[in-house]
Symmetry: C3
Subunit: 364 residues, 3 copies
């Protein structure tokens, strides 16, 4: 199970709960003992060890509590009460509980604190093998080995740039952002604070823009150079090998709090509203405008030059061919079937218009 | 807005039009003043500043002309005439126009000139941190920091290889090609002149070839080593994180002028004809033969061992399961619907063959 | 055609057949001459030269045998016999044949031997430009230029790590594995022996996990830090730009002999059984459990938290929305059609439930 901190850096459970951001959450430690355990990591209910914190969010797993070997478990207050009663009846071993009405969210907040604490093992400063031009480096910045940062880049306080990242000229990385190894930012990319960019992500490659050229038989497609940039808000996460193209003239813009999974493709000039989330393999063609708080299932595809309003939810593998002006859930995916049945139905599907005419004829 | 050149490198408008490739295009500068402005960049009609060139290709935006602050605007001759008349009537501020029957194409050609001019800021020669084997380097070559070029590679005149690119043994990069940072070319990859390869593209990884092996329970799939190469024509552009596999024995071939967007996967032994263009996330399985001037919408998928003739256009998210021997437009995508409606219709879709039999029964 | 070994390293045909792993296969060299040719590479039946080995597995190409210029050809015994008879009749030029009941599999085994032999040209040891922490390096290890290996990594015997790879802290690379340039392994990734990882693959990026957070308007999605690892069995191949996310708490697990093509996305906590193979662009959402010996066609998409039993075969571009508990072949893809026909049929598809009611009305 994941041990994240060495024993001498592990906080006591009560210290950890005070240190983590628990805004809006109420919690209470229920323990028979005065001594608080030290928390060095987290684990599952079934697997956590004596220095690890676990959580119980799904009632289905409540039976695992009795055999749980964790240092402490975050549970809903009702679960804590039931556990207390059961222990009084059966005399089972004591277990430290943290009661909270939203156990999963409290777990998330604590895990975020631990994750940031473990970043401390990275060396501060610029690794000697990195190639760093004339740039502005904030306080406490960490630049990994073999990273390249071109002239004019602004790296704000607390940023971590992983091994082998490329930061193009004039880019700006907001405070406390974390770029994992081998992220690539073309010139002029900018992002707000607390971004997380995963390996292999490419921000700012050319949008796919060509004009048909009838005057030169060697050049059927004449390239439209792409001069806009990629501009990203605060608290954005971008997954591994995801690509976001630079705008043609204006910028491609990703709003605050947007979460993009792996292998997503965002075409040039696209505008994505705040807190929209996309699962892996989604594709957005150029010049789409997508609202706030939308969600997109894996491999959904959105055509270009269309508009999707706020609070639209697109199912996995669905194709959006035209604008959507009403919030709601939309789907367009072929239902899976045994291959032989699919073959039969797909054959009829290709005659569907004819079939309707036959029904009309019967009705007349 | 994108300023591309410093003031002392910015050409005068008339110099720029003479310097750019305007083959096949007729243009005329319409200005009240003798002095020509210097053009340091380009911008949108709404956003361009006094040293930037804009264009008007879509009549919808013609009303923006009057308030336009650009150094000059490329417009159709009729728009120029109308603007002249309007100015005579209203006495609005003078605006330098470049009249051309194909304003977007003229813009593209000029923008291409500017894009190449701005490459001049990159340092010539080999960055000291690059690891370059026994290779042939042409005139005016630029090799970025931390690039790796293996023995036997041929880098022709004017090539730019970005930071962290990997060029495998015996590869050949045609003159004036531009490889953005972190492009990866396995050994033996070759490309013609003027290629543009974006970051994260991988050319020449092994094709996906395995033989079932019944003789070794540990090896259900026995690997077919991939010994062919990737061979790319002239004027090809390959998007970020796109992958093109090497052939099994013969080469995977990409024709002249082919344009591939981001995150496209081209399987081994595939042959793509000249000037075919594919939007993002398209997948082509192995050993497909695709004609010239075809287009593929985003996320289209083409199965292997099939043939598509010239001038075929496949819509987004459509699956090509068999050969296509007639030019035209083809589609196969599930129409999007509100989720509840989709559920109802999808349920019936799985009974479609039965439904047809019921219609037949009614007809009899 | 691919010459793989220099003349002085090329084995004689009989030596090659003895050296290669031919477990379970029976073969016989049929030659008129005592002298055995040296085999420096392989080629197609039509293109192989005098130092290259070819094979004939598809009877369709049998007519190419007579003009074949290869050093030797692997054929089925019946083909060898027919060729002998034809030569006796026509007196055509002698050709060395290797008769084997499974010519393609014998070819694969020999090609594997040649592929490993050619790796010998890579320099042993650690390239001076690599940045290698406090790690364990096995015998005969090769580390390419500009690779980064963090503290605590274990690199077993015979491993080759290509230029620019990143191996995170505490990772383990099994013996004789081959990592192509620019593969990226986050901390704690482990793999068994004989893995092949292609360029741009990213193992161990964060899974896509967020909890809705109603207490902070700036944080609609609260990140669940991902602390599990990626654990990969023996003999696994992972394609270019494929991404496999680390688990949330437990590990994401890829079984022995699994073959993943390019640009596949595997979500966190996913479990893939031994010898399952996936073609390019497949996506698997989080927490899916996939059986052994399954196959997935290109661009198939599997939703999360579902279970697929052993020996299930999913067709290309099909979406798996729920668990599959019966082996077999499953499909769900919209059949391609001429665009106008598709338009007509798709329009009716959106009224399918209504159409069924009309049929019911007619029946009543």
């Amino acid at each position: 199970m994941p041990i994240l901190l060495s024993a001498d850096h592990a906080p006591r459970l009560d210290e950890l709960l005070e240190a983590a951001d628990t805004t809006g959450l109420t919690w209470r430690i229920e323990s028979d003992e005065a001594a608080m355990p030290r928390i060095a990591g987290v684990g599952t209910l079934a697997g956590a060890g004596e220095s690890e914190l676990a959580f119980l969010a799904n009632p289905r797993y409540e039976h695992q509590l009795d055999a749980c070997g964790a240092a402490a478990v975050i549970v809903a207050p009702a679960v804590a009460a039931a556990h207390r009663m059961r222990r009084a009846e059966t005399g089972s071993a004591p277990l430290i509980l943290v009661a909270c009405a939203e156990p999963y969210l409290l777990y998330a907040r604590i895990a975020q604190w631990l994750e940031r604490a473990q970043r401390g093992h990275l060396a501060r400063g610029v690794h000697p093998s990195a190639v760093v031009g004339d740039v502005s480096l904030g306080q406490g910045v960490r630049i990994g080995p073999l990273a390249v940062i071109e002239d004019g880049a602004i790296i704000e306080d607390g940023v971590i740039i992983g091994a082998g990242c490329f930061i193009g000229a004039g880019s700006r990385i907001g405070a406390d952002s974390l770029l994992h190894p081998r992220a690539t930012l073309y010139r002029g990319t900018s992002m707000g604070p607390r971004a997380i960019i995963h390996s292999g992500a490419v921000l700012g490659a050319d949008g796919f823009g060509f004009a048909p050229d009838p005057h030169n038989p060697d050049v059927v497609w004449s390239k439209i150079p792409q001069f806009g940039n990629v501009t990203i808000g605060a608290d954005v996460e971008i997954g591994a090998n995801t690509t976001i193209d630079r705008g043609a003239l204006d910028d491609t813009r990703i709003g605050d709090g947007v979460k993009l999974d792996n292998q997503i493709q965002i075409g040039h000039n696209t505008q994505i509203g705040a807190h929209t989330a996309m699962a892996g393999c989604v594709g957005v063609a150029g010049s789409a405008t997508i609202g706030e708080r939308c969600t997109f299932g894996g491999s959904a595809m959105i055509l270009g030059h269309l508009k999707i309003v706020d609070d639209v939810h697109i199912s996995a593998a669905s194709l959006v061919m035209s604008s959507i002006d009403k919030p709601g859930r939309y789907t367009g995916a072929f239902p899976l079937d045994e291959h032989r049945d699919w073959e039969r139905n797909a054959a009829v599907l290709r005659q569907l218009a004819r079939l309707r005419r036959r029904i009309q004829a019967l009705e007349e």
